[in-house]
């Protein structure tokens, strides 16, 4: 391969910025300097779709209305464990306005008898059983009421600890693999190992397995912390629920989806219906939040398609709020045992972790890799178990597993620091080898004024203030199957296309920024057409991969198109194209100021209507940490929390958060702030309010609404200060990464540590409610 050598900015500006030489493929674009020197990258650029959002023009999947469209509703079980003996749809079928009914039946395998009979066994309240399509949503709901399902109930178990007991009702008596929504739910295990409802353990991740010798490590320890931490089940509650509109009237199945992964949904639907990929088109222009739960076509995707086929009409199928809560995914809970040992100088000698979590009828209730990789420690082992219960399946939820894991580890580290008589921030300086987190601690502590921190519980008065800190790390995942097409049109217009979707993070805008920067144009000059699988396949919006995966190909394709256009201008000017540049909408010559042409004029030189270049994600400069797409480095963060706790009423208020983050080369400051705000607010919500309340006696979620499933509203929002640390790693043509998940990991831990600092009593279980505080203060008899 032809290569060239280039010098790239490397390190953290204001700290250790230097240069590094990389040998890169010859066709890669020129080196980008640090953001200071760029015009559009790293600035505050307003979102290109903001106008549609503030005027109500933005059309989400739930807003779609196609000619002849029917409205559908799913039929779901309302018992937690049962065999279905019969389903009578006769009354529903004959209701005026009902066009199609589809029931989910067991796939018949030749020569095999299905244990549960015609219909799949019911394993949780809310399990999909079928669907109805009718003229209106009201008629579909009327019809649902007329369906009679006969159940033969079976024993069931809801509570995780009850499910772990010998003799507990068995949820699955066969080995299982991850069934429902994919995504990285935690550490996905092989569900064949284990006993009863307990499956696993998972003992390794892509960062490896156990290290060293734990027994020896603890022998060497002068201080040991040994505690159990608990976290709750959290549902995603996106404002727009899951759902699709399927139009299958031609031989192309058109799917409008509220999704984080248009290509993933396309592939799934094609597979389910045995269609070539080219005959399924998935479209997502605006979507109302996913947070990890919307990666797949779910059960509603195929259901809508089946109803569309049966009725011959387009079908709208969106979940209602109740369905969204109990069936469309959740962050599993956790019971985490941690034992950490250190020498009296603070050096870590051993980290042992054992966790149990339930993802309902799914797998993947792990606690991530925080304990494994956040702080170097020679002796480490983890055992992460899944516990099956008769409840809705888990799904990826913004930094799956790792949010739970950070809550446990970061509190344990604080406890260790206290035993060592060290300030928790100073202790982290001691054990944390990450350069970027070092800078984040320094700059963050200053902005937060960490020096205000007083000894735990020392405040006078009823309302006690506390300060706390929490840290996190997140891998730089790269999805290699990430492509874009860039077109320069011969009217001066520029367009970028990909199937990648914008889930509210601002993907549309950063793509426009990258293209504009490269061509010397304005963001408004660029048309961004994404969220359509007729375009080159882009990454799913998960793992915080999009920015790092799609912006290098976006730049590379733009560079290729630019090169082609410059060649035409060079030919006209009879000059070498390597001496031409694009800036401020013009094309010029480095050594001849008289040669100037507008970008638009230049496009008139084109022989065809468009110059079209497609690029896919190339390898990282200097290679990957792991070849499937794990880049070197990580996305570290440090978050500081200030809380006020009323020791009479247990009321906790988060007054302020300082969130220090790194995402490589920042692209859009306003959007990054928004992402960090969002992660922090969700982390705060997880720490103080959210909890899926299951009724153990009947298997129902009792707060499947917005009223009693609590998340913060305006008065709960603290002052949030964001601090972005630029870090150049010289790994790709944009060197930019995402921030979605990193923003959410450390917050609950920081708040829990702050609560300890306020009241002098540590809380080992979230959510931290007034009841938790009053119990911790021994005020509840």
């Amino acid at each position: 391969m032809d290569t060239r050598k280039e010098k790239f900015p490397y390190g953290i500006p204001g700290h250790n910025l230097s240069e590094i030489e990389r040998e890169i493929p010859i066709e890669e674009p020129p080196v980008w300097p640090v953001n200071d020197k760029l015009k559009i990258i790293g600035k505050r650029v307003t979102r290109i779709d903001a106008l549609d959002k503030v005027t109500g023009k933005a059309k989400f999947t739930s807003d779609m209305k196609l000619p002849g469209m029917l409205y559908a509703k799913m039929l779901r079980s309302n018992v937690p464990h049962a065999t279905i003996t019969s389903i009578d749809i006769s009354k529903a079928e004959s209701l005026a306005g009902v066009h199609a009914i589809h029931l989910i039946e067991n796939a018949q395998k030749e020569g095999e008898e299905n244990k549960s009979g015609k219909y799949p066994m019911v394993k949780y309240v809310g399990q999909p059983l079928g669907g109805i399509a009718a003229e209106s949503l009201e008629i579909a709901k009327d019809a649902l009421k007329l369906i009679k399902v006969n159940y033969e109930k079976k024993p069931f178990v809801i509570d995780i600890e009850a499910a772990m007991e010998i003799g507990a009702p068995i949820v699955f008596d066969v080995p299982i693999t991850q069934q429902q929504d994919g995504g990285d739910v935690g550490e996905t295990h092989d569900g064949s190992k284990g006993q009863g409802n307990v499956r696993g353990p998972s003992t390794s991740s892509f960062f490896g397995g156990p290290r060293g010798d734990l027994a020896k490590g603890f022998e060497e320890a002068d201080v040991v912390v040994e505690k159990t931490y608990r976290t709750q089940v959290q549902t995603h509650m996106p404002l727009e629920t899951h759902g699709v509109v399927v139009d299958w009237n031609s031989d192309v199945m058109m799917v409008y989806a509220s999704t984080q992964n248009t290509a993933g949904v396309r592939n799934e639907m094609a597979s389910v219906f045995n269609l070539p990929k080219s005959k399924v088109r998935v479209f997502c222009d605006f979507m109302g939040g996913g947070f990890g739960a919307k990666h797949s076509a779910g059960s509603f995707g195929p259901m809508a398609a089946n109803l569309a086929k049966k009725s011959g009409r387009p079908v709208w199928l969106m979940m209602d709020r109740k369905e969204e809560h109990h069936s469309e995914g959740n962050r599993p809970n956790s019971i985490q045992y941690l034992k950490i040992g250190a020498k009296k100088d603070g050096t870590l000698t051993g980290i042992q972790q054992r966790s149990h979590g339930t993802a309902g009828v799914g797998l993947g209730a792990g606690v991530g890799r925080i304990a494994q990789v956040l702080y170097p420690c020679p002796n480490f082992a983890t055992e992460q178990y899944d516990v099956l219960t008769n409840a809705g399946p888990g799904a990826a939820w913004r930094a799956p597993g790792n949010v739970q894991g950070a809550f446990g580890l970061e509190q344990a580290i604080d406890e260790l620091a206290e035993k060592l008589n060290m300030d928790p921030l100073t202790y982290r300086d001691h054990i944390d080898k990450s350069e970027v987190r070092k800078v984040e601690r320094q700059r963050g502590a200053k902005l937060f004024d960490w020096s205000r921190r007083k000894p735990a519980g020392s405040g006078k008065g009823t309302v006690k203030k506390g300060l706390g800190v929490g840290q996190s790390t997140w891998p730089r995942f790269v999805t290699l199957d990430s492509s874009v097409e860039v077109k320069i049109h011969n009217d001066g217009g520029v367009e970028i296309r990909s199937s990648v979707q914008d889930i509210g993070t601002g993907t549309k805008t950063i793509l426009a920024q990258v293209v504009a920067e490269e061509l010397g144009l304005q963001v408004n000059d660029i048309t961004v057409n994404i969220g359509d699988t007729f375009f080159p396949v882009g990454p799913g919006s998960g793992g915080s991969v999009v920015t790092g995966s799609i912006t290098p190909p976006a730049r590379n394709a733009t560079f290729e198109a630019k090169t082609a256009l410059l060649k035409l201008v060079a030919k006209k000017w009879e000059k070498d194209s390597s001496a031409l540049f694009m800036e401020d909408g013009m094309i010029g010559h480095k050594n001849d100021a008289s040669l100037k042409m507008s970008f638009k004029e230049a496009t008139k030189l084109m022989r065809t209507s468009q110059i079209s270049k497609t690029a896919s994600r190339s390898d990282d400069y200097g290679g990957f940490q792991q070849p499937w797409g794990l880049a070197f480095g990580d996305l570290g963060s440090v978050q500081f929390a200030e809380v006020s706790v009323n020791t009479d009423t247990g009321f906790v208020k988060v007054d302020k958060i300082v969130a220090a983050h790194s995402c490589g080369r920042p692209l859009n400051l306003g959007q990054l702030e928004s992402q960090i705000n969002g992660g922090v607010i969700q982390g705060l919500s997880y720490a103080l309010y959210e909890n899926r309340v299951m009724d153990n006696a009947t298997g129902h979620m009792m707060n499947a609404n917005v009223d009693q499933y609590k998340v913060p509203f305006s008065m709960e929002i603290p002052e949030i200060e964001t601090l972005i640390v630029e870090e150049y790693s010289a790994l790709s043509s944009t060197d930019a990464y995402g921030i979605g998940e990193p923003a959410n990991i450390a917050t609950a831990a920081a708040i829990a540590n702050a609560v300890y600092n306020a009241i002098g009593v540590r809380i080992y279980e979230i959510p931290i409610t007034p009841s938790s505080i009053l119990k911790a203060l021994n005020k509840v008899s």
Binding site: N78, V125, E138, D142, K145, D648, T649, G650, F651, K653, L688, Y689, V693, M694, D695, N696, A697, T698, H700, M702, N703, D707, Q708, K710, P712, F713, S714, M715, E716, T769, P770, S771, L774, K775, K779, V780, S781
Partner: protein
């Protein structure tokens, strides 16, 4: 929602002619062919959307003339029409100046949008928010079923439920505004289809679960609330209202307290009216706290003693023990805010 017809009532008599049962009766019996009243509709539509109520006809009383006035007179006191919205109450300066606890209670209720729709009559007549009661999948006592799901000591999710009067139903009354109204000794004016008018004190308006499992108030099918009256405050009347919540923005009460005292010159409580919200299936007048503070100096010590007296009869469930210290702190604070 199920299909229903809509009747636009033109007068109280007209409205009363149309209804056949109360919402409470319907929730208990589930005949699915009833005609029921709708004022603001916030509570009603929740029942209908959950499928627990499938009325045949909704009688809209929201536009009946004459039920939407607020009038205050120094001697006669305050009259609030049953169709007055919570927003109108919240922004009324005379209520703020003379009935502070009521003003505070209304300002803490719901959201700005809901306050523009909800009416006072609907608010005090609303049913409780126990999640089993509000679930179509759980047939509890209040819906003609054979059990209380919340009370089960091992399995019941009763963290939001009652600590007092929780022998049968353990729900808590949902109207935190009623806490303040009862503390002000409000009277509910009820008119029936024979044109008869009766004044019922708030204390008598609410019905305990022990008395009638199907009702939370005494309204019968052919009766309509037309007005709520509060006596004029005395020269020395002072009030306070505190609502504890997990979220300040808007939340159901974890425990709220309304205190209305006649205070003498030397800061002695001459007469005490202390009502607890979110403690019992009805807004609960704490006779224990009232007795403990009456004729006493309002001090830290005496306030605390009254608060503890209030909680001496509390019998918390498995998950709501926190309400006891919460109420002790809140009752004490409310009493002290008076002085």
């Amino acid at each position: 929602m199920n299909k229903f017809s809509w009747y636009e009532a033109k007068s109280v008599e007209d409205a009363l002619e149309q209804v056949s049962s109360t919402v409470s009766e319907e929730l208990y019996q589930q005949t699915n062919n009833a005609s029921v009243f709708k004022s603001g509709g916030i509570d009603l539509f929740d029942w209908v959307k959950e499928g627990l109520l499938q009325p045949e006809k909704i009688v809209n009383i929201r536009n009946i003339p004459g039920l939407d006035k607020i009038s205050y007179d120094e001697k006669k006191g305050l009259s609030i029409g049953s169709n007055v919205t919570l927003a109108e109450i919240a922004s009324n300066p005379e209520i703020k100046n003379n009935y502070l606890a009521l003003h505070q209670a209304v300002n803490h209720a719901a959201t700005p949008q809901l306050r523009n729709i909800s009416t006072l009559g609907g608010n005090i007549a609303q049913r409780n928010r126990c999640w089993y009661f509000r679930s179509a999948d759980h047939d509890c006592y209040r819906k003609g079923g054979d059990r209380c799901f919340a009370r089960h000591s091992e399995n019941g999710e009763n963290e939001n439920h009652a600590i007092i009067d929780n022998g049968s139903c353990v729900s808590i009354h949902a109207s935190s505004i009623s806490t303040a109204l009862m503390a002000f000794n409000a009277t509910v004016v009820i008119v029936n289809n024979e044109g008869k008018k009766k004044n019922v004190s708030m204390d008598e308006f609410f019905v305990t679960a022990a008395k009638d499992i199907a009702m939370e108030n005494i309204l019968q099918a052919k009766e309509l609330i037309t007005e709520i009256i509060i006596p004029a405050p005395g020269k020395n009347t002072k009030s306070a209202y505190i609502k504890q919540v997990a979220r300040e923005s808007y939340d159901w009460s974890l425990g709220d307290v309304a205190v209305v005292f006649e205070v003498s010159g030397n800061n002695t409580c001459r007469s005490a009216s202390i009502v607890l919200g979110a403690a019992a299936p009805i807004p609960f007048r704490s006779m224990e706290a009232q007795k403990a503070i009456e004729d006493k100096l309002i001090t830290n010590e005496n306030a605390l003693a009254a608060a503890k007296a209030a909680m001496s009869i509390a019998r918390p469930l498995a998950k709501n023990g926190y309400k006891v210290p919460l109420f002790v702190a809140t009752i004490k604070q409310a009493i002290l805010e008076i002085s």
